[in-house]
Symmetry: C2
Subunit: 157 residues, 2 copies
């Protein structure tokens, strides 16, 4: 189930987290969804010769984990995403596990909006992304079944 | 082929664009890549009862089109994505065609960085996303084969 926090339930300092590991599968799905097939993400041989020394995740893939944390964890369903700042600090490589940390830093009572400090770090505790999200918080309590995705098959390349 | 613009080739006022149409396929692939299966994206019945009146794209999907435009068009391969601000103005629905417009607004000669104004509009000319990207521009001219994605099959749900 996906259960939200309404605007009234959210408190300054409230935190939430979300974790996901990058595999080749996420890179391919993200490339297909966005159309961004840049060889730094797709081509191991090319990527090995760059300063990154290997394939890296799309920066916006990491941002999508922030969005997932907001949409599904805090505030959760019924949130409307208004804006986001992003700073990309370090690359994310296949096998890295990214933990997104959210913290409510401001509440606008009149407009029912919250500011959320967002930070993502890898399994070594190094920050790879940070920024601030602006969210219209839900005013109605919701508890919804988590939709199940259809199965997705990626052909061997 | 993907051909880049080096820092020296980029001029203030230079523009580029990138276009993509949202289908259910992009929504499913993006949900799988990010883990964001919020029913506003996945569940037609639920989404019909919200103020959006139907399923909408993940906001960050639209941001991923900005990223694709930077990575593959201008400056193109060799760019390093440093930061991005995003304002989400309107929802994107299945069938909408989004055109991303990029314009170079600042060049930092010393650090070889550029600021790029980013704007995305739908087929009715309405702005749906805007922001500013900070990019480390490539200094070496590159012309690379566009990687080909493996085929991806989504099971009927």
């Amino acid at each position: 189930m996906l259960t939200n926090f309404t605007f009234d339930e959210l408190e300054i300092g409230q935190t939430a987290s979300y974790e996901k590991t990058l595999t080749e599968r996420e890179i391919i799905l993200f490339a297909a969804a966005s159309g961004d097939t840049n060889p730094i993400h797709m081509d191991e041989e090319y990527a090995n010769g760059t300063p990154f020394g290997g394939r890296i995740a799309h920066g916006i893939w990491t941002a999508s984990l922030i969005s997932a944390a907001i949409a599904n964890v805090m505030p959760g369903p019924g949130s409307i995403y208004l804006g986001q700042t992003l700073k990309f600090s370090r690359p994310v490589k296949i096998g890295d596990t990214i933990t997104i940390q959210l913290e409510v830093t401001e509440k606008n009572e009149k407009r029912k909006r919250v500011s959320i400090q967002c930070s993502g770090s890898n399994q070594d505790g190094k920050q790879i992304i940070s920024g601030v999200a602006e969210v219209q918080a839900p005013t109605e309590k919701l508890s919804l079944d988590t939709p199940v995705l259809p199965s997705i098959d990626i052909a061997d390349s």
